[in-house]
Amino acid sequence: MERREFLQLLGIFSGAAILPGCGDDRSASKLVSYLVPPDEGVLPGEARYLPSTCCECPAGCGLTVRVREDRAVKLEGRPGHPVNDGGLCMRGQAALWRLYHPERLRHPLRRDADGQFQPVSWDEALTLVVEGLRQARQQGRANLLLSGRTTGTLAELQQHFCQQLEVEQLPQFEPFSHAALRQAYGILFAQPEVPHYRIDQSDLLLSLGADLFETFVSPVNYARQLSRAIKQDDFQWIHAEPHYSLTGANAGERLILLPGSEAALLCFLLVRLDAADERNRLPMQLMAALPASSLEETARLTGLPKRRLEQLAKQLRLAERPLLIVGGIATSQPQGLQVALLAGLLQQRLGMVGNRVDFSQAEAYASVGSLHDLERLTERLEQDQVGVLLVSATDPLVQAPAALDLKQKFQRAGLRVGLCDLFNESAQQFDLLLPLSHPLESWGDAVPRRGVFSLLKPAIAPLYDSRSAGEILLEILQRVGQQVQNQSYQEYLFNTWQQRFDQQQLQQFSEQGFLSLPVSAVPHQFRPEAVSSQLATTQAATATAPHLILTPSIRSFDGRSSCLPLLSELPDPLSTVSYGRWLSMAPTAARKLQLRDRDLVRISSGDWSAELPVRLQPGLAATVLMVQGDLLSEAPLPTDARSGELIRRLDGVRLTKLGGAVALAILSGSSSQQGRGLIPDPVHTQEQPLEQTRFYRAHPHKDYRWAMAIDLELCIGCGACAAACYVENNVPVVGQQDHLQGREMSWLRLAPFYDDAGRASFIPMLCQHCHNAPCEPVCPVYAAYHNAEGLNVQVYQRCVGTRYCSNNCPYKVRRFNWWQHQRQAPLEQMLNPDLSVRDRGVMEKCTFCVQRIRQARDRAQDEQRPIRDGEVLTACGQSCPTGAIVFGNLLDESSAVYRLAHSHRAYRVFADLGTEPSIYYLRKG
């Protein structure tokens, strides 16, 4: 690619082309002319699809951004991307809310003498920074840069910046730093990295505490890999954890460990497996350092039956390609480092290292620090050693453990400069705020793991007077004369890419938005001698019950995404709580205290206490209490002295019933499916439903009969589909009050149903587009009817709002607009113009993304052919990380949906009602 072409690409975003139909008020009655015609291929009123990279969490999934009229209206996972290959989690879907967040900083702000923020120009703001840096240097105070995990060119620019300006770059701050893991791998293999786990190449996965589907390193990637692995017949997955996670709910088997017994379990396995095979034995000296771990002792410590322990060892021994992953809660505890070390030893002993535990493609966590770094920062702040503190794209004030008291000590820095996007509470602690552009407004790149390059390309012109971190750093450098004047950050990036990639790679990178470069294998050296000393103290001290475990959250990650309204609107997959915070406890434990859902309790440990409503969690161990960590950030959690990880567990907490209940938005009406067979018991897999007797003749379908197949074996209940549906279909986010009244608007919900043993199964429930739909004949005005392609259509404009259709729907998937839902500006810019925004008093529901069918038909008509199989992807199916949702034409016998609908696993929910749904579920097993 030539420089000229590249700059031409930039031209689109230079603001010269104002497209018709922009979101402002007057466009409704006005047509806006272009000044100059847009580039070839850009058609007014048609969508464009641009590549980008998701920056909502460190995983770095590839994105396709749908842009309509210069507005980004939908994010989708980028097919083929080495991280997510098309899938996108709910946080990624919600990232648009950050772009259009009403609290976005709109220009640089400076705190004046009264402590009030006053807008300043970029020129003034940057002058202040440069001046501040200079003064601090003169005073002999250190200038520091603290950023969140940063990769790619920006990370290089940061280094360059720090060198040139004598700014000290602190290790990057991530609450989920995986520090213990990296430290252990550093000790064992001289590789202080998070390896890339190749789940799809294993036949047995033993995961220990690692929340693969929620927050662990790269959730969408793991989900994708697991879906591939599950399709192999002999794949086994065992997950061991003390609490209850979405990952555990989906594992083939979930072992409930006593809290803090992971090390004991690993120790036992290591001893057993090492003895089982003469080859490649671990050094005697090392084995001797391990604490004695008899079967009885291990059974006592872990709470697992002896038979199961022996069987587990046998399973691992017999597996050809076993894989062990530890992390999450297992490494965020006092024995965290031992757990990681023992796991490393086991991985080495069972031959996983170098293939399924792949350091050559290590996830880019090397420059991330641990809480020790933050502790050091607070010490320096206390000693008034800090001059300018630049904080870029991270929020340590909220996410640092409460014990550090960073918020207080933070005030002692000479000049606090924040590069942030939202004007929230932590932003208001800074002296100078430099508004960051959203990743969708900026140029950049990301290297989520070694060898994977992902492009960030502006999908829209910046909404406000904001800049990307790269632009800001570059401009400061230019101001002090350390960088070529007038070189833009885009040019800087382009130069970097030109040096790094060859022509062909560059072409590929700019077109597909990502690039996978081959990586050289990293020779790993096994250093058992270093381990022995570390293992000496492995023996678990029996911790006192009850234990409070602070879990990561699939919705807010470490809390960073909790500002996105959609993620509060979507329920937590296991508890189905949407708004508010809650304490999960086992039904048996609750019964003892006579507690029911929503009853208020006080939980205390030492001086600290908190009041929370209770939510019963089937399947949770009776001695374990569970709260999502970011909802209880004030809890006094200690830091592990060795690894610098946060210990996410409090032992011996006190629980007091307070009496009374609080309003808590629990969306599920029942955690059991009451024997109604929504999800059939896998025992009865061979039963065939009876042929339906019909009163009336079935009505014909012409060319298409749209249908969907949902594979419940692949569905992990992560809620990405529901999130995608919200964004695609302009489903309003209604807020806590409406949720408390049972008025959520989600077209698609994920119902977790627990069996008596507390095992969860998930079923996505959406409009079933019944062939004989009960909702249709009861509508007095034909607002609900059946069209020739098998869609159950709801004509919003015709609807008078009797709600009879919703009453008569056995699946209860219709949603009524109780209000004229308001969207706070500029959130209305996110609206998808391909479908209408429903008014007050109108019923709405899943349309099978009829706008996408319409678009595909339009394309097919232009090319004078029928719509191809797979050409129409519903938003839910597109986003599903495991590919559980397949959509297509049931009349086409070669289509994927036809094949799945005729699978022996296929069934339809409430088939005995005779509604004949168009959604076929595939039962497990």
Binding site: Y696, R697, A698, H699, H771, N772, A773, P774, C775, E776, P777, V778, C779, Y782, A784, Y785, H786, N787, E916
Partner: protein
Amino acid sequence: MMTQTYQYEEAEAFLSKLRELLQSGISQEQLELQLPYHLPEVEQLLELRPGPLRFFALTGGLSGFLGGLGLCIYTALSWPLITGGKPIVSLPPFLIIAYLLAVLFGSLASFAGFLLLARLPKRDNLLEPSDFGNHFVIVVKGEGQ
């Protein structure tokens, strides 16, 4: 013969006079009766026939039934939309509409027939009310009048 008016306070006296008059050969056309309430015996004496009101009711009812059925079928066919897998012309629900319209049109036609046959509203009486209160009255009109 002059027009004669007889007034009675009691029904029995009125009826016997009426019987007497009829036996004396006075034709029904010459009689004008005013009653404070409906006396079925009078109709028996005069041997009145059921009258045409029934046919109003029948016509109304039938046209309502057919009209209702026609409306349903026509509208369903004018834009055939499938609801709930039921046929476009679903007779059971259409019969409900037809039945209801039969009752409605039948009642309204009967009422209209009543107004027509009873010659109501009576304009003279609207402006200048005159009646005989609670008395039974027989007016025998003179011949040739």
